[in-house]
C-alpha cells in the first residue's frame, strides 16, 4: 500500500529555555490513504509537536531540526511558506484539543467556516453559504441555519468541536489531524464526536492522524497505533495486535496501570520515576531507568527497531530476535502476577482495623437534602431573579473506612457537593451530619474544632500548593491552625512521618513546590490533608490532571492509606474506571441531583437509570473487540441556570415518558443499597 503521509526522521526543537528541548526526536511513520493512525502517549511525549511539525504550525520557539514529511510524495518541509498555505486546510486539515479556545470569539461560526471555504475554492456568495450549511449538516449541527450566525461563546463545547470539524472538512482534505479532539469534552459528548469523526472518515475515505492519551479512544477509532515516549516512537502495531499483546515494556505498563473493575483488589502497576528531561542527549534506551525488564546494555546502547509479530515492531532490546520477544512476554506476565500477590498480602493489623470498622456500620457522614444555590441578580436594582441550583437536594451517606464514588459530567455539581459539605462554599439548605453533629449550623469558631475530622484533596496539583510556601510549612499549617501537635518538635516528627507515609523523603520539607512533579505534588497534598488526622477525605478529581502511570501511583497510595488509617473517602470523579477501581458505593449525579446510587457492582454492572446506562456505554474501553452499542444521548448538558422541568434528564432520554416532563420521580429501591430516581420503574 502506498503511503499518503510519510514522516521520516522528524526532529523538532523547542528553544525557549536555556537548553533546547528535543520535543520530537527522529520520529518516522506513515499513514495510508483512508487509514486512521493513532499516536498515543502521555503528556509531554511530543505527540502534539509532531502534529504541529507536519502542519508547520509550531509555536515561535519551535524549530524543525531535521527529517522529511512527504504528503503523496511531496516534501512539505521543503515547500515555501506560500505553497504550504495551499496545503493547510486544503489537503491536510487539523482540529485541536480546546474547542473553546480554538475558535475566534468575535466572529460568527458561519464566517469562520466560510473563510476556510473561500480560501481554497472559487466559490462565492450564495454558493459559499450553501457549502457552509452543507458542512454544518455533515457534522450534524442541529438547526444549522440559525447556528451559522451565532458566535462560539453561545455554543457548548461539543458544538464548538463540531464547528472545528466543519472547518477542517471544508475542502475535503486527504488527511485530518485530530489533536486530542475529545479530551476537553464530557464522555457522552465525546462519544458523539468520536462517532461523528469515525463516520466522516469512513464516508469520505479520509486518512486521519489521531493524537490521544486515551487507549480507549485508540481502540475504538484506529487501525494502526504508534506509542510515543520521550520524543520518539517506541512501538507501532496494528490495533488488534497491539491490544492483544503490547510489546514494549512501556506500552505494557500503560495497560497495567489502567484502573478497571478486574483490578479492584490489586495494586495497579505504576511506572517508577519520571520521564527524563528532553534537553539531554540519550545514549541508551530512554525508558531504561524506569523499566522492570531492563537488560545490562539498555542504559548505554540505543535500541533499534525489532519485529515482534507481523506488523508489530518495538524499539527495545528485548526484541532483537523473535524468540527473545516471546520470552520476555512470559516474563512480563509473571511480574504482573507477582504484583497481584503483593497486594493481597495485607498485614493482619490492617485487616483487623478494616473489619472492625466495617462491622461498625453506623455512618460517619450523613448528608441530607444538601442544597447549594447561587443567586442570579439582574436588572437595575440587582434583584435576585433566579437561582443556579448547583446542588439541589443531595443526600449521601458514608460509613467509616468506605469510599463513596460521586460521578457525573462537568457542571453537574459534584465538586460543589464536596466543597459544600466542608462549608468551603456556603450551602443554602439541608443538613450535613458528621458523627451526629450538623456542620451547617455551627458557628465559624465551633466549626473550626470539627475541621480536623474532614479534609479535602484537589484536582490541580499545581494550584493546590502555594508556590511561596515550603513543603514543611504547608504541612504544618493545618496542625497549627487546628492545634494538632503541641510543640514544634512534635509537629516536625509528624511531618517526617507523614512524608514517609506518602512516599517522600524527609528532606523535601525545606523545598518549594516548583521542584516537584505533578504526582509528587499530589502526594504532598495528600500528606497535608492527613496532617490533622481526618476520618474523612473529600477527593475532588485527585487524578484527573495526571497521566495514567502517575494516576496509578496516587490511586495505590490512597488505597493503602485507607487500609492503614481507616479513612473514609468521598471520591469525586468523572472517570468511571477510576471510580470502579476505588469506590465501594457509587452515586451518579446529573444537574445537581443524584439520579442513582448503590454499590459499585449494582450501579456500574446493572445500571437502572437511563443516564447511568448512557454514561457507562459512552466510556471508551481499551479493547477493540469489545463491540458494545453506545447508547446515544442527544444534545448537551442543559444549563443548571435553567434546568428542564420534571426529571432533568428527560429531554435527552431515549426512554422518556410523558410524566418525566412534569414531575421529578421519587426514589425507587431495588435492594438495601441500590436506588434510582426514574419513572421507568414506577410500576415496580
Amino acid at each position: 500500500m502506498s503511503a499518503l503521509l510519510k514522516v521520516t526522521g522528524l526532529s523538532t526543537l523547542i528553544c525557549g529555555g536555556p537548553l533546547p528541548v528535543r520535543a520530537v526526536d527522529g520520529v518516522s511513520f506513515d499513514i495510508a490513504a483512508g487509514e486512521t493512525f493513532a499516536l498515543v502517549g502521555e503528556s509531554g511525549c511530543g505527540k502534539s509537536m509532531t502534529a504541529l511539525s507536519i502542519m508547520r504550525l509550531l509555536p515561535e520557539a519551535g524549530e524543525i531540526a531535521g527529517g522529511t514529511v512527504e504528503l503523496a510524495g511531496e516534501n512539505l518541509l521543503a515547500l515555501p511558506e506560500s505553497r504550504m498555505r495551499d496545503v493547510r486546510g486544503r489537503r491536510v486539515a487539523m482540529i485541536f484539543q480546546e474547542p473553546g479556545l480554538s475558535l475566534n470569539p468575535v466572529m460568527t461560526v458561519g464566517a469562520q467556516i466560510a473563510e476556510a471555504v473561500t480560501r481554497h475554492t472559487a466559490l462565492t456568495g450564495a454558493a459559499v453559504e450553501a457549502r457552509v450549511l452543507e458542512l454544518l449538516d455533515a457534522v450534524r449541527m442541529p438547526d444549522a441555519r440559525r447556528r451559522m450566525t451565532e458566535y462560539p461563546f453561545q455554543m457548548s463545547g461539543g458544538m464548538k468541536q463540531r464547528v472545528m470539524i466543519a472547518i477542517a472538512l471544508a475542502c475535503d482534505p486527504d488527511l485530518l489531524i485530530a489533536d486530542e479532539p475529545t479530551t476537553a469534552l464530557d464522555v457522552t459528548v465525546q462519544a458523539q464526536v468520536l462517532e461523528l469523526l469515525r463516520e466522516l472518515q469512513r464516508s469520505r475515505g479520509m486518512a486521519m492522524l489521531l493524537i490521544t492519551h486515551d487507549l480507549g479512544v485508540v481502540a475504538q477509532m484506529a487501525q494502526r497505533v504508534a506509542v510515543m515516549y520521550a520524543g520518539e516512537i517506541i512501538e507501532t502495531a496494528p490495533v488488534d495486535l497491539f491490544f492483544a499483546g503490547p510489546a514494549h515494556p512501556y506500552s505494557r505498563k500503560l495497560f497495567e496501570s489502567l484502573p478497571d473493575r478486574a483490578g479492584r483488589g490489586k495494586t495497579l502497576a505504576a511506572i517508577r520515576g519520571t520521564v527524563p528531561a528532553l534537553t539531554r542527549q540519550f545514549t541508551g534506551c530512554r525508558f531504561a531507568e524506569r523499566c522492570d525488564s531492563a537488560l545490562a546494555h539498555c542504559a548505554d546502547t540505543i535500541p533499534q527497531w525489532g519485529a515482534v509479530r507481523e506488523g508489530q515492531r518495538a524499539k527495545c532490546h528485548l526484541y532483537g530476535s523473535d524468540e527473545r520477544g516471546v520470552m520476555s512476554d512470559e516474563r512480563g506476565e509473571a511480574s504482573a502476577e507477582r504484583g497481584v500477590m503483593n497486594d493481597e498480602r495485607t498485614s493482619p493489623r490492617e485487616t483487623a482495623v478494616r473489619s472492625s470498622l466495617i462491622t461498625h456500620h453506623s455512618s460517619l457522614l450523613q448528608v441530607e437534602d444538601l442544597q447549594v444555590h447561587f443567586p442570579i441578580r439582574k436588572g437595575l436594582l440587582q434583584r435576585v431573579t433566579g437561582q443556579v441550583k448547583a446542588v439541589d437536594g443531595v443526600s449521601l451517606e458514608i460509613a467509616p473506612c468506605r469510599t463513596l464514588g460521586l460521578v457525573g459530567e462537568s457542571g453537574c455539581g459534584k465538586t460543589t457537593v464536596g466543597k459544600g459539605l466542608l462549608r468551603l462554599v456556603a450551602p443554602t439548605g439541608g443538613r450535613v451530619l458528621f458523627d451526629g453533629t450538623d456542620l451547617l449550623t455551627l458557628k465559624r469558631s465551633a466549626l473550626r474544632g470539627r475541621r480536623r475530622h474532614a479534609q479535602i484533596i484537589f484536582q490541580d496539583p499545581y494550584a493546590s500548593l502555594n508556590p511561596r510556601v515550603r513543603i514543611g510549612d504547608a504541612l504544618e499549617e493545618g496542625m497549627l491552625a487546628l492545634g494538632v501537635g503541641a510543640t514544634a518538635e512534635e509537629r516536625a516528627t509528624r511531618i517526617d512521618a507523614l512524608l514517609a507515609e506518602v512516599g517522600l523523603a524527609a528532606e523535601v520539607k525545606g523545598r518549594y513546590p516548583h521542584e516537584f512533579s505533578g504526582g509528587q505534588r499530589q502526594r504532598i497534598a495528600i500528606a497535608r490533608a492527613l496532617s490533622v488526622e481526618p476520618q474523612l477525605i473529600v477527593c475532588d478529581e485527585p487524578t484527573s490532571a495526571l497521566d495514567v502511570s502517575v494516576q496509578a501511583q496516587i490511586l495505590n497510595l490512597l488505597k493503602r492509606l485507607q487500609r492503614s488509617k481507616g479513612l473514609a473517602y468521598l471520591f469525586i470523579s468523572h472517570n468511571m474506571a477510576v471510580v470502579e477501581y476505588m469506590a465501594d458505593e457509587v452515586a451518579v449525579m446529573y444537574l445537581g441531583r443524584i439520579v442513582e446510587r448503590g454499590t459499585v457492582a449494582e450501579v456500574l454492572r446493572n445500571p437502572r437509570h437511563p443516564y447511568t446506562q448512557a454514561l457507562l456505554s459512552a466510556v471508551p474501553v481499551a479493547d477493540p473487540q469489545a463491540a458494545r452499542p453506545v447508547i446515544r444521548v442527544a444534545g448537551d448538558l442543559p444549563s443548571p441556570l435553567n434546568p428542564p422541568q420534571g426529571c432533568h434528564f428527560h429531554p435527552r432520554c431515549g426512554a422518556a415518558l410523558p410524566q418525566c416532563a412534569t414531575q421529578f420521580p421519587d426514589e425507587k429501591t431495588f435492594s438495601a443499597s441500590h436506588a434510582t430516581r426514574c419513572h421507568l420503574y414506577d410500576r415496580a
Binding site: L424, R451, Q455, F458, A463, E477, G478, A525, R528, A529
Partner: protein, 472 residues
Amino acid sequence: MMPFIVEWLWSDALVWLLVVAAIGFALYTRRHPHLRAPWARVARSASGMAAATVLAAFVLVGLMDSLHYRAALPQQGGKTAYATEVRSLLDRVLEPLRLTREKTYSAPLATHLYAKETVQLQDGTEARVFPRLRHGGAHLKDPQADWCLDVAMKAFRGLTFGLLLWFVVAIGICAAVARGRDAGIEMVWRDAWAGRTEVPWRAVFCALGLLCILIGPVAALAPYYHVLGTDKVGQDVLYQALKSIRTGLVIGTLATLVMLPFALVLGLMAGYFKGWVDDLIQYLYTTLSSIPGVLLIAAAVLMMQVYIENHAELFPTTEIRADVRLLALCVILGVTSWTGLCRLLRGEALKLREMEYIQAAHAFGVSHWRVMMRHITPNVMHIVMIALVMDFSGLVLAEAVLSYVGVGVDPSMISFGTMINSARLEMAREPMVWWSLAAAFVFMLTLVLAANLFADAVRDAFDPRLIVGGRS
C-alpha cells in the same frame, strides 16, 4: 566639638529607610531560592544589567545628595555655632562648581561671558566686549592661544584616569566572580568578553566604560571650566543637573512607596472579601481616579501652598520648606497613582482566593488574616515589584511637567522641571542659549531610559505575561 552636625531632612530619612529596606530585602531574597530566581533572570538580561549600572551611578549621586549637614561656623567664644544653610555631601564634593558663580550666561567650556558688556578700558574709553569669566578658564593667561591645548590636555588626562578607574573596577568584578567560581581572573575576563558568563558582564563593562569615559574628562575639566556652561544667573549647569538627580529619584521612588501600603491593603481586601468591602473600595478608587490626575495634583498642591504660606512658622528654613513640599508632592502623586495598582491587585486577589491552596487553608480553618498574609500577599509581590519599577520613569517625567505647570517642587529646589522651566525661553533668545536645556535633556533621558530598560528586564523576569496598562 564637631565640624558639622548632621541634619536629617524628612526625605533623607525616608530615602535611607528605603535603602535599608532594600538591603534587608536583598539579604532575605538571597536566602530564598524562589525569590532569588526572578532576580537571577534580571541579572541575565544584558540591557537590564547595563541599565542597572547606569542607574547605580545615578543612585550614588542621589544618595550623596541625601546626606545633609550644617557646617560649624568659625568659633566665636566657647560656643560652636552652626550655619543655617543645610548642605549635602554632594554640595561639599561639588564645592568648586557651586561657589564659582559667574555673572550670567556662558557657553560650555567658555572663557568669556555670553553677553557683551560695556567695560571701561585702560585708556578710559568704553567698549562693548565679552568680558572674561570670573572662574571659567581664569587660570589661562591668553585664552585665545592656550584654551584649545589646555582643554585637550585636561580632557586627555581625565580620560586616562577614567579608563584606569574603569579597568580597576572591571578587574575587581572579575576577581569577585573568579572567587565565587574558583577560576582564574584572566579566565573570567576572557569569558566575560566572549559573552560566556551567566551574568552578561560584557554589557556591564561596556556601560561602565562609557560612564568612565564621560566622567573622567568632565571631572578633570570641571574645576577649571564650566563644562556645561552657566545659566542666566551664572550658576554652573553641571551642578544643577547633578542636583536634579536626587529630586528625580526621590519623587520616582517615594511616591510609589507612599501609595504602596494603601494599594496593597485595599486592593487585596477588595479582592479577597468581595461583597460590600469590595463595593466600598471600588467606589473609593473610581472616585479618585475619575478626577484627571493633573487637576487633582494641581488642586492639592495649591491647597498645600496656601497651607505652607499661612503656617510659615512651621518651616524655619527654605531647605526644610522645599523638602516638605517635595514630600507632599510625593504623597499627592502617590494618591493619584495608587488606583491603578489597587485595581491590578484586586483582580489578582480575586483570582487567588479561588486557588486550591487557599481552599485547603480554609478547610483547616485558618484565619482570614493569616490567609491574606501567608498565601495572598507573597503571591502578588511580583506585581508590586513590577509596578514599583514601571512607575519610576513615569513619575520622573511627571515631575518635569508639574514643575512647569507650577504645581511641582518648590521653585528654590533644583530639579529637571525647574531647569527646563527656567530655560525654555532661552531657545527663542538671540543668540540661542541651548546648554541648559541640552543638559536637562541628556541627564533626564539617560535616567529615564535606564529606568525603562531596567523596568523591562524586571517585568520580563517577574511576569512576562502581565500586560501593564489596560483600564486606567
